[in-house]
């Protein structure tokens, strides 16, 4: 059911004003993670394991500690011993602690084992060489399928939670199974059943700004932390637990952020900098190198998947089954459950079964990456759908339309869908000139649908009016996608004052109530909803002041176009009272006027998209060029359409990298072979075509303006759409990502991907 007061006609929402952070960013005035300095500041550096799996027999830091430039050395002993190990995700603080500083074992190449603080960055790096670590090297495993076989090295006994059936390897730490109907009966009704297997490699979120922080923690347990993060409250809570201090005594400020994409939703260097600062009694700054970012911060999971889908000759899907094995590094957390729940979600299926495995291997702890888990599943499922269409001679868009989930469909993960926009994206795709444009020889076209849940989460917003009628809005969700602009637009819509008169600030943890991380495509939805409610709270007070001035009841006053006005002819004859006229005297008419909202909004609304891709494969080199790309996605309501288009284009661009080039390459020794951008190839501007976008708006019933999150769904369809385009161009089915030139050449040579 839609909110009673859902708005559909707008003055400011839907316009494209200049971004409020633009000047700061182009002039260098914006302060990112590495831009903070403090008097007496030391520089931290972290010693990392060169082994994929090794017992730490002994750490001798005496030579480093004796060096005059070194002011502190920390190991695991310098963190709280109260953090409890629990199976699965129940012990996530322990998992994070074990990741930021190894305990008994180094679990992957790049795992932190010790850290130093010294008088300069160079001195700190040099001092690492003075720390002697004795390792007992253990057998390792980095491949998800190999990590599940009986003789695979066990990474950690006891990490499996309640969900794992008996008989599976201890590296399988979580298990998910869901679905409905009878898949075997469904396969029996099909005219064609295709069963196939697929793999994707781990990719990094690839944010341009490396992790960086400045920490100060005194012996009194009071601390300050400046860091680049998607969520400074979770950083505060986690660091406090890992350091054994009270949460409220640690004030965390989020810097300007140079990309996150899910990878900055946890902590890596921040607890280490705090521990060094506590020991040295001086502020400590740590800035990761790019190699450290690749080796020791979260890439996404790698995946191995088996898909079976049955279809009738008319394109009706009769049954679908997927087994999804996701590797998440040496810790629980690979989103096999999310992959399973999202994989078939675009389709209205009578018979469906999905199984997800969370598997540990000797790799860095995976971190979320835009719609975590969903892109891999979509790649596998939509590839099989494409192959079914090819073999049955059916149009791939018609088949998707025929099977598309719609309002009232039972989702593959269980519940019945409310108001959703998938069919509209497919209809827009079919009507788009791209879909009917002729292809040149050597080119292929692919399409794919994609789904993501979206999220609400704990949210606090505060809005304060100034005497001159301008407004300050304080939010707690770091701006990773233009949220300051969209918040200002939503506040302007309610207050009726210009966008330019509203300044939005990302407040620190001491200034505002708790806020969840900027993740789950939740910011425009949840902080936006809270902004609207906070602005309405302020408007109530403005109306009260007008009612007092006019001597009429407050319910005889309404707010219209930035002014208090009588609610009807019976309320009296008064000229409209502008906001600035009320705030000019607010100190003498009852005090400052502010609005607040604190809640956990629970109506994020799921989101769907459809992508169309043209690809051209060079048969001599195996290189793929993406020649045309169109993204069609439901935004519910686009608050600032240019930012929405940017999210769509960014998802496609990152998906192109994931599909064609990006991968974590491990040697036989379990060491990462390509930990710099020269060897790990993300797309650059010259690799990309203009990415066209179509914003579909099927309002989310759970938001006052109809907003659905848009940040994540855009990366779900690209892997599949590109794989289908490349497979159709090359004439062979590509089953493994990335589709790098050597892999495509090999497929062309063998005649089978």
């Amino acid at each position: 059911m839609a909110l009673d007061d859902q708005k559909s006609v707008f003055k400011f929402v839907g316009t494209r004003p200049d971004r409020p952070d633009g000047l700061d960013k182009v002039t260098g005035r914006a302060k990112f993670g590495a831009d903070a300095y403090a008097a007496g500041m030391l520089h931290g550096a972290i010693l990392r394991s060169p082994h994929a799996h090794a017992r730490i027999v002994k750490i001798d830091a005496s030579k480093a500690e004796a060096h005059p430039d070194v002011k502190a050395v920390v190991t695991r002993a310098d963190f709280s011993d109260k953090v409890e190990f629990k199976p699965g995700l129940a012990g996530e603080f322990w998992n994070v602690l074990e990741n930021v500083m190894a305990g008994e074992k180094a679990l992957y190449d790049g795992h932190a084992v010790a850290a130093v603080a010294a008088t300069s960055a160079l001195a700190a790096r040099d001092a690492l060489k003075l720390i002697e670590v004795e390792y007992e090297v253990l057998p390792h495993v980095t491949d998800v399928d190999k990590a599940m076989v009986a003789d695979a090295p066990v990474i950690r006994e006891g990490a499996s939670d309640y969900s794992v059936p008996e008989g599976l390897h201890p590296n399988v730490v979580r298990y998910h199974e869901s679905g409905h109907g009878d898949v075997e009966a469904g396969f029996g009704e099909a005219d064609l059943v295709i069963e196939d297997s697929f793999t994707t490699e781990a990719t990094h979120q690839g944010y341009i700004e490396p992790h960086a922080c400045l920490a100060s923690l005194g012996g009194d347990g009071k601390g300050e932390l400046w860091c680049t993060t998607q969520g400074h409250w979770i950083a505060q809570k986690t660091c406090a637990a890992l350091l054994g201090i009270e949460t409220a005594q640690l004030r965390v400020t989020a810097s300007e952020i140079g990309g996150g994409f899910g990878g900055k939703t946890t902590v890596f260097i921040e607890p280490v900098a705090l521990a060094l600062s506590r020991k040295a009694n001086r502020p400590v700054k740590i800035v990761m190198s790019r190699s450290e970012v690749f080796r020791a911060t979260g890439p996404t999971s790698s995946a191995s998947m088996d898909i079976k889908i049955g279809m009738k000759k008319d394109g009706t899907i009769t049954a679908a089954e997927g087994i999804f094995r996701l590797q998440g590094g040496a810790f629980p957390g690979a989103p096999g459950d999310m992959t399973a729940m999202c994989a078939f979600a675009p389709y209205d299926l009578t018979n469906v079964r999905q199984v997800g495995y969370d598997v540990m291997a000797n790799r860095p702890k995976q971190a979320a990456y835009r719609a975590p888990g969903a892109p891999m599943g979509a790649f596998a499922v939509e590839s099989v759908l494409d192959e079914l269409c090819n073999q049955l001679g059916l149009d791939p868009l018609d088949v998707r339309l025929k099977n598309a989930a719609h309002d009232g469909s039972k989702a593959s993960y269980g519940p019945t869908y409310d108001q959703i926009g998938l069919v509209k994206t497919l209809e827009e795709a079919k009507a788009h000139p791209h879909y009917s444009a002729p292809l040149k020889p050597g080119q292929g076209r692919g399409i794919s649908c994609g789904f993501w849940f979206n999220h609400g989460g704990e949210t606090s917003v505060s809005l304060a009016l100034s005497g001159d009628g301008s407004a300050q809005l304080m939010v707690g969700t770091p701006d990773i996608g233009g949220s300051r602009a969209s918040m200002a637009l939503m506040a302007a819509e309610v207050l009726g004052i210009p966008y330019e008169n509203i300044r939005v600030t990302v407040a620190d943890t001491a200034t505002l109530g708790y806020n969840d991380v900027s993740h789950g495509s939740r910011v425009t939805y949840a902080s936006g909803l809270a902004t609207i409610k906070a602005a309405k709270h302020a408007v109530e007070k403005l109306c009260e002041r007008a009612a007092t001035k006019w001597g009429i009841p407050v319910d005889a006053v309404k707010w219209e176009d930035g002014c208090a006005v009588p609610s009807g002819p019976n309320a009296g004859d008064f000229d409209p009272l502008p906001l600035a006229d009320i705030t000019a005297n607010m100190g003498a008419t009852g005090g400052p006027i502010s609005g607040h909202f604190e809640a956990t909004p629970e109506g994020a609304g799921v989101s769907f998209g459809t992508h169309i891709v043209d690809a051209e494969v060079d048969p001599e080199t195996g290189k793929t060029a993406i020649t045309r790309y169109t993204v069609i996605q439901d935004a519910g309501k686009a608050i600032h359409p240019a930012y929405v288009e940017g999210q769509y284009q960014g998802g496609a661009a990152q998906g192109i990298g994931w599909a064609l080039n990006e991968e974590y390459i491990y040697g036989e020794d379990g060491r990462l072979q390509n930990s710099i951008f020269l060897d790990y190839r993300i797309p650059v501007a010259s690799d990309l075509p203009m990415i066209d976008t179509v914003i579909v708006e099927v309002p989310n019933p759970g938001h006052p303006f109809g907003v659905r999150g848009v940040g994540e769904t855009g990366i779900v369809p690209p892997l599949a759409a590109i794989a289908n385009a490349v497979s159709n161009a090359a004439g062979v089915r590509m089953r493994d990502l990335p589709m790098s030139p050597p892999r495509i050449l090999a497929a062309l040579k063998s005649g089978d991907g």
């Binding site: 975590p372 519940p415 629970e602």
Partner: protein, 82 residues
């Protein structure tokens, strides 16, 4: 009032193969408590984190949200985003 809670199939091993569990509850918080009272093995998945879908609207964490006999209720794994 009695509400019907649909479980994902991986949980059926913890409920004697029941796919739908009926409990007396007026809120999501009541519902989760009753589920554990009837099937103590459900404590582990609930502790690990669950979301609840009420008529297709996914409640990530609100224990106070009302539930009623006419609602379609699904227990889901807690959602995580990027």
């Amino acid at each position: 009032m009695t509400v019907k809670v649909h479980l994902w199939s991986g949980l059926r091993a913890l409920t004697g193969e029941q796919a739908v569990v009926e409990v007396e509850a007026a809120t999501i918080g009541d519902m989760l408590r009753e589920l554990v009272r009837l099937h103590p093995a459900l404590q582990a998945p609930i502790d690990a984190g669950v979301s609840v879908s009420v008529d297709g609207r996914i409640m990530a964490s609100d224990l106070t949200a009302p539930v009623a006999a006419e609602n379609e209720i699904y227990l889901m794994q807690r959602l995580r985003g990027g």
